[in-house]
Symmetry: D2
Subunit: 351 residues, 4 copies
């Protein structure tokens, strides 16, 4: 059994990790970390866990935890892991970080977008960006895993094949994203109150959202050159789910014609045809967040708009499963050499 510790287990991503690991046949949770609820019963913080989790919450002590666990998940605010990570922790166990601390390879980009100093840039080189479908081999070998952001997972996976295949002009790429409210976390803030979110939709972080450089980093790899995109997140009155609607100009072929439906579909299949968690929908079916709720799937599709020479790419996932905890477990499975889908063959729940 893999012994797992969770730092930040009482946030929404942390609690989803608990849910998923309880159903994982080769893992046992040995540490429920939560600075806000030290010594309280975990099940009193999350009533759904009543009778399923008997543990109490413990303070954050990564050194100690690293001696008791095989893997540590940090579902913590930006800057936390970078400020406490040590060689001995990484010698003792593997670390899967759900924050952004080791996602951005260029430290100056991280510091510029996040507005904080990176306290342990020396570990950046060995960190692996945990987008399983793109970095599977590197993930298997790492001990420091940077689990991607929710918006980024959806945005990158949905557009990556067409960037990589050169089918779209990445300089024209616009990602309009819509997220459920669990992405905002469990912090008690007025803008996240029921009455403020319900019956409302708004954009936020326009032209400044921190997931932008993460998306650009990975799509630049795909494009083989530096690219910049427009990214706009929106807050939607629902608990879970991210929908990405992305727009880009199609690159005309030598004869001046546009790429065909079949060619674009092939580009997706070339990347994902063996991927269990990616479902390329049938022609003209638009992804819906509800169809992936509670599961680790990413549903995607595209539509050619010949009138304007663009393609609209759409992707949907559950932001706290494939967008956070589910992907973290998928990464853990890879890092420990067990079946990649273990604990993750969850059938989406409807309605």
């Amino acid at each position: 059994m893999i012994k797992a510790g969770i730092i930040g287990s009482t946030g929404y991503a942390g609690s989803e990790l608990v849910r998923l690991l309880l159903g994982h046949r080769e893992t046992e949770i040995v540490w429920y970390g939560s600075r806000s609820y030290i010594d309280e019963k975990y099940a009193s913080v999350y009533g759904n866990m009543f009778k399923l989790v008997e543990d109490v919450c413990r303070d954050d002590n990564l050194e100690q935890l690293s001696k008791e666990a095989d893997v540590i998940f940090t579902a913590t605010p930006q800057g936390f892991l970078a400020s406490v990570l040590t060689d001995s922790i990484l010698d003792n166990c593997k670390v899967i970080d759900l924050s952004a601390d080791f996602r951005i390879r260029d430290i100056s980009v991280y510091e510029s977008w996040y507005g904080i100093e990176h306290k342990s840039p020396q570990y950046m080189k060995e960190a692996v960006y945990g987008l399983c479908e793109l970095y599977r081999e590197q993930i298997r070998g790492t001990r420091l895993l940077a689990n991607p952001g929710c918006y980024t997972t959806c945005s990158i996976l949905t557009t990556y094949p067409l960037v990589k295949a050169g089918i779209i002009d990445p300089a024209t790429l616009i990602v309009d994203a819509k997220s459920g409210t669990s992405g905002a976390g469990r912090g008690a803030k007025v803008p996240n109150l029921f009455c403020e979110v319900n019956e409302n939709i708004k954009a936020y972080g326009v032209a400044t959202h921190r997931h932008t450089p993460e998306i650009e980093q990975e799509l630049s790899v795909a494009a083989g050159k530096d690219i910049r995109i427009s990214f706009t997140p929106h807050l939607v009155p629902m608990n879970r789910g991210i929908l990405v609607t992305a727009y880009a100009d199609l690159v005309k072929k030598a004869d001046g014609s546009l790429p065909t439906q079949g060619e674009i579909r092939s580009a997706y299949e070339a990347c994902y045809k063996d991927e269990y968690f990616i479902r390329l929908l049938e022609k003209n079916v638009c992804p819906e967040t509800k169809w992936v709720e509670g599961s680790n799937f990413v549903d995607m599709n595209f539509k050619i708009d010949e009138r304007v020479g663009r393609v609209i790419m759409m992707g949907a996932l559950d932001n706290i499963v494939k967008g956070a905890a589910g992907q973290a477990v998928q990464n853990m499975n890879l890092m420990f050499g067990i079946e990649e889908t273990e604990g993750l063959k969850l059938v989406p729940s409807f309605p």
Copy 2:
């Protein structure tokens, strides 16, 4: 492997059966029945099942199905099963009926509340009422199972121990129930449109709801005499969940005092202490439907109001799991002699 056929597989209860059986290690679905979607791919009716279910929907033919399946689930309108059931079907396989056709032992009560003639009263005698926690032994031996209603499961389980223990006066019992909208089914009706249900709450079926006689039947057994209750259902703007708030006068003890917290708790524990799916909450914790969502749990608790000499009993379940499909699977497990919790150890999903 148990071969299961589902009649009415494209309703909400039917589709939840599909979700649960896909995660059941000893069952295989061999028939996706749906009169409305004959020959259509099941996954085109329920997009969440894309890539998980490849079958197409088939017409209702119970005779044929009974030859191909070990168990038939009928998630159909009232009157359907009673009108088509035959000896040969029951000889061929077991039947679990999610409709009300065989729930009410007194045919005249059924006909009066449902306003239809019962077409096969001859099978009533062998039918077993499938409230697992109350009729476990009888369920194991039957071939015709009447799966209880959603409101009834919650109402009976929440009040049963105190009726049975004589702690409350059943003549004063009032059940005020609140249900998510999936209970109304997937039929296209104006009152179930998003804009009609959202931001709204109302009572309906006041003093006339068909689950009333079913609750009365079982509580009368518990009381050892015929009892009548008040039952009022309400429609709540959420997908899943039933909450029952029940009120009754406490029966004073010989010395004129009221039953104590400990005595009432003991009455609950006497009934449920070994029940995996029933969670008696800690003192002063009120059940919330969200804490059981997606699972087969029933959470319950009570509060004594000494000022008025009453007890308030509260229970919560997921109406399409323990209130329908989950309980049906629990019954199937019992009927086939396999682990009662198989396929049902679902961790509630939050948020």
Copy 3:
């Protein structure tokens, strides 16, 4: 023009007062009080007021305000008004208090249920309980108005006629109430976050909610004797609205028969037939909170359940209109001798 000041103008009830008074032809708001947002533009706290309100928020200074205003509305926490009220304030202007400080005539009952000391019991005697339909004449003459609670307004108005007429046995009265989330206020607390409330329903304050003694006080007046009731509030995933479902035993007539539909209807009409804001629905129509949203109406109806000898009374209102700000304006209209419906002839908004 009546000059109005609002203390607590940035809470939900306070902001609804702003909305209503902006549409009131004889009132002008001269003071937007808010301790949390001093010197901030009101419209930056409530974006809906952009371009409609140019004022900035001011600190709480009732003495000063009483010199500038004709009426002060206090939409503040319990205990605030009682701790600052003075003779000079009441000499200078009228006060309409939306908190509970002057609702409960028996100070010891107030102190017992609210757990705080009442700091100015000397004003209790002149305070008038502002349930307009019951105390219209007293309201006209007062300078200190205790605006009723949201649950209480709905609970009292819905049951009052039958208590007063002796049609029901008040000792058997049970009020099961359901409220939208705006009733919980705009304070940043985890239980009121979108993800915690959405897709969820729960009871709270069971047998201990502070609106209980307020309901009992008024129904005792109606009954002509002290009565105690069961009152259970529930939190519903919607912004606005309260629905009350109340149960009571019908009092049999001398001949042993139950009161008839016509007799009960007459009891309602005797109380409310000239009331603009009370709509007694047609037979068998159940009130829905959506039908009164944004308006000052209370919709109500009843259903006789002859099987059990009870009547089910149902009432619906908008908790921050008739349950708070709307009733406060109705009271102001009465206190200043202007048309009672001024500013309140709002057509409910649907959907």
Copy 4:
């Protein structure tokens, strides 16, 4: 008093017309048309209107109605008005059409996008497109008014100033729109059921939505040349509201620099500074649909993204007020020479 008749008064737009006209001091509704509910009381179809509307629904008879009314509103499916309009109707009264029949000046474009034959192209010439802020003078003089679509009103108003000022390259314009569910109407269809919409978001009509040519028509006028855009609508789990997020490349100035914040703001102000219903928000404030709910306002703002040389334009309105019924009343006011804001000075309701 203006006598108004409403054809299609039981749809959501029709019922909102009723709500608004009940609060309009110079209008009286003389005809509640509804083919689905002939002879039923209007208030039994819309419970919010109980005691406010005593009329029963009448069949559609435009000839007769035109003799009884000064203005007819047709809130009907596409093709209806075009198939019944006659000279005598237009001689008798004014017509305000909320359908698309007279919005698209090029009949072939209409027929191509709507897939139906236009039955009365002869009236196209005198029809005026009723976007009040753009066509105020023409509206005053017409007797046949084509009330714009909900998405189009929001999309055009939000982007028009920058297209007209030549600040953006219209060939790069992408409009990503999000709508509440009332836009889908009150028809009983499975995709509009509560359980299908709730906790879900999806795009639909991708690259094919019928509001596209309407937006293009008006922006082409602004641009002085034919332009084509990308337009993608999304269904959001809320009742009311449309949010538009639009993207376009900024046109560099002669010196290679981008337009400044001040220049773009000036372009908006040049168009809207005297418009009561358009609220240009303060810098960095993003529009939220909740801030305009129930009102006729359009809130808008923009954000420059210098990294990519684009501007993001955002606009929000209530789809059944400014996006339908409110704009229709605004048009009526103009057509009858009364105050443009009469009946429309509605304060947005929050929460």
